[in-house]
């Protein structure tokens, strides 16, 4: 049983397209996150949801919109994709939103051509 699963694992798309990445966790956690890993492997938080409520929204372009239909799911929709959006996107979850470790999915490698 995969604790945090994201789909797809790989996504290749053209500039200007709209795409979504889905994430689900079966750990019963209240908090879910999206992190972005760039080509230099640096990881930075994008969004965080606690019980379907947005609690972190870093300086991310408006083209990125997270959606949490319930606390077990956090999807990431990206409009008008740009070359610079190419990265690995990780979904994660944690039991609480204060000071606890996060459990990560396998990542989605997005390549914009």
């Amino acid at each position: 049983d995969t604790a945090v699963s994201q789909t797809p694992k790989y996504l290749v798309t053209q500039m200007g397209n709209d795409k979504s990445i889905k994430c689900e966790q079966n750990l019963g956690h209240d908090t879910m996150y999206w992190y972005k890993q760039d080509s230099k492997k640096f990881l930075k938080i994008m969004f965080s949801y606690n019980n379907k409520e947005l609690i972190i929204n870093e300086t991310v372009p408006n083209r990125f919109s997270p959606k949490s239909p319930d606390k077990a799911h956090l999807n990431l929709h990206i409009n008008s994709l740009e070359l610079g959006d190419s990265a690995v996107y990780f979904c994660a979850s944690s039991q609480f939103h204060t000071g606890t470790e996060a459990f990560f999915g396998q990542g989605t490698r997005l390549t914009v051509v």
């Binding site: 640096f42 990881l43 606690n50 972190i56 204060t98 606890t100 470790e101 990560f104 396998q106």
Partner: protein, 114 residues
Amino acid sequence: AQSVTQLDSHVSVSEGTPVLLRCNYSSSYSPSLFWYVQHPNKGLQLLLKYTSAATLVKGINGFEAEFKKSETSFHLTKPSAHMSDAAEYFCVVTRSSNTGKLIFGQGTTLQVKP
């Protein structure tokens, strides 16, 4: 503000020799600290965590780390490297009463030579 600095971007050791990956942190508040490992084309796996209990923390696969407040360090060690330890390692800090936001270091690539 919080930040993490991993002092080495690349560490190379021979199989069977000790591993030391260095991490310094900066935090205005009581921190929680973690080490994560990322194998090629894989997700991030938690190795160990410090959350204000014992300062010497033991993790999976024989790794351990010591929280030293006076030195603001949280170095990761292992007595004997194995080939399977070759991976990217991240030191991570978060605030114990924050929004759960993890602040990642730049990562250290561990190479293990036979």
